[in-house]
């Protein structure tokens, strides 16, 4: 599917380039749209999985011209919960349902306003002014589609080799160290003593280096990149198809767990998309198998925090407004997910010490009277997590 989409996408790009200038003019004039459409774009990534705009029929219909084809109210209802309409026996709905061989469109919890934005976005042919487009980064997509190894993955590999080399160094220097000592005490072979001392010190240094490197990686698994039961590529899904993280990791904003998607979520698209560009039917078939045998897919957890830590995604993603990549790295660039950050306590604290809290725009923080005064008085220019107890043990350990 990925490739299929890509070709289409690039075509669209070429087609829509002339439209660009016009859009810029248009949008700047109605700049009030900007914010919304930007959001609409984000939301639309959920649609992208099954729809194109003028890209022809995918899982679901090509959305080009859809906004004009159906009444807005109807569309809103349909997008929000198509199955309800099908059940309720709405003629149009049932027609579409059957036409697209009875694959229900998953209900989306968009507000009416959001749906309207999306419709507008579709009207615009899925394009945005330059600023926004940069965020969309078609260039990246192009490169991603290439089979080259992504920076993220290269980084991971380098790190691994690095530590391996160090280990070899350590062994060598250990041997040298022993020799020097023996020579100093018994053999007295080396006449120029200073050589002994130089060797001694440098060997000790390397050993120290290595033991630090080794001990700090204990109980950690930075650069951990296991093979998953299904060859699933985030590069394809998050990168090329621009599927929003929270579409699959649906509870990141509502729970402590980001959520590994149930097979049912996969089926939203893969009930239709039955073969991938790089893996053919083989990998996708595993999903069907899992469901047929009623056996869940046993994914291997990649990003493992140390033990005894309570981490809550809702706190960080929804309240803290952190971007997923800040902790998980540029997932959209990885075919095979690896743990990029070392996820050590120090790493957590560094962020807690430096990161700015959404202080003034969340009523909850109103309770911090003293801090607010200081802000007003200009004693402090920002409130970091540390200032509201971000260094407390019981923030994460209980």
């Amino acid at each position: 599917m990925s490739g299929f989409v890509n070709i289409r996408r690039r075509k669209i790009l070429r087609l829509t380039v002339p439209l660009f200038l016009f859009f810029i003019l248009f949008l700047t004039s109605v700049s009030s749209y900007l914010g919304q459409t930007a959001e609409a774009e984000k939301n639309f990534t959920q649609c992208k999985a099954c729809h194109t705009i003028g890209g022809g029929r995918l899982v679901g219909p090509d959305l080009k011209g859809i906004p004009d084809k159906y009444p807005e109210a109807w569309l809103i209802k349909f997008i929000q919960n198509s199955q309800a309409m099908v059940k309720s026996g709405d003629k149009e709905a049932v027609k579409i349902f059957n036409e697209y061989n009875k694959i229900p469109m998953p209900s989306h919890n968009f507000t009416d306003a959001q749906v309207k934005d999306i419709l507008l976005y579709i009207k615009m042919g899925g394009k945005l002014p330059a600023g926004a487009v940069a965020k969309n980064a078609p260039a990246k997509i192009a490169s991603a589609s290439a089979q080259t190894i992504s920076p993220a993955e290269r980084y991971v590999q380098e790190k691994r080799e690095g530590s391996r080399n160090l280990a070899i160094f350590a062994i060598v220097s250990g041997v040298l160290l022993l020799l020097t000592l023996v020579d100093l005490m018994f053999t007295h072979y080396m006449k120029a003593k200073w050589v002994n001392y130089v060797v001694l010190l440098s060997a000790l240094w390397i050993l120290g280096e290595w033991s630090w490197d080794y001990t700090t990686s204990l109980g950690r698994q930075q650069n951990y990149q296991p093979d998953q039961p299904i060859w699933f590529s985030h590069k394809v899904h998050a990168g090329q198809n621009q599927i929003n993280c929270e579409y699959c990791h649906f509870t990141a904003e509502t729970s402590m767990h980001a959520g590994i998607p149930p097979a049912s979520v996969c089926m939203n698209c893969h009930s239709q998309v039955k073969s991938g560009k790089r893996t053919g039917k083989k990998e996708i078939a595993k999903i069907y198998a899992a469901i047929k045998e009623n056996k869940p897919i046993e994914w291997i957890k990649v990003d493992n925090l140390p033990d005894f830590v309570y981490f809550n995604h809702e706190q960080h993603v929804k309240v803290g407004k952190l971007d997923c990549t800040e902790c998980h790295g540029d997932v959209a660039q990885m075919d095979q997910i690896a743990q990029v950050k070392d996820l050590s306590m120090g790493w957590c604290l560094d962020c807690h010490r430096s990161h700015k809290v959404q202080f003034t725009n969340n009523k909850f923080y109103g309770a911090y009277k003293k801090l607010h005064e200081e802000l007003r008085a200009g004693k402090i220019d920002q409130v970091t997590v540390k200032m509201i107890g971000g260094e407390n043990c019981s923030k994460c350990h209980y």
């Binding site: 100093l184 005490m185 018994f186 007295h188 604290l349 260094e391 043990c393």
Partner: protein, 173 residues
């Protein structure tokens, strides 16, 4: 004979040694060193030997104090201030540790200085002028340089004998 470049005066009694050293110096004969089974304060006085280790030790101690305080302050006030039992992070209890670690650094570095100064390390080869000097003999070593003729040597030998040397040997180190 020509090879041998050291005159060793071997004594039995510490006091005689210091007397002998005194005599030798009066006859401005350079005493290279004195080997003895235990320290001989008088000899040091006569040879005017001094050491600067005490000053070094003072510095080490001072470093210990300052360093400890710096570390404690940085760790528990700047780097990761945690509050224990309602105490301020910069607390009096630092004094205890500063005190102890002053001593530690003092002791260790003093020893190190001593060993380095003496070029001592486990397994260093030794060639003693007379190995009995670790038992019960006291040995005065006198450098025999070129311009020292037999006459001079004999004089020294005599001098040593007179001041109680049980034997006088030549040796080369």
């Amino acid at each position: 004979m020509s090879k041998q470049n050291q005159i060793l005066g071997v004594f039995n009694d510490p006091d005689e040694v210091s007397e002998a050293v005194g005599k030798l110096l009066q006859n401005n004969i350079q005493v290279k060193d004195v080997y003895s089974p235990f320290p001989l304060e008088h000899v040091w006085e006569k040879l005017k030997l001094k050491t600067r280790i005490p000053y070094a030790t003072f510095l080490y101690g001072a470093f210990g104090t300052a360093g400890t305080f710096a570390f404690l302050y940085w760790t528990s006030v700047i780097n990761y201030p945690l509050i224990y039992g309602g105490k301020p992070t910069n607390s009096l209890s630092f004094i205890v540790l500063m005190f102890v670690l002053t001593i530690l650094s003092g002791v260790i570095f003093t020893l190190a200085t001593y060993l380095i100064r003496e070029k001592m390390w486990p397994g260093r080869e030794v060639n003693m002028p007379d190995s009995r000097s670790t038992d019960d003999k006291f040995v005065i070593v006198i450098e025999k340089d070129k311009n020292m003729d037999d006459e001079a040597v004999r004089k020294i030998d005599e001098l040593l004998k007179k001041s109680g040397a049980v034997e006088v040997n030549m040796s080369n180190v």
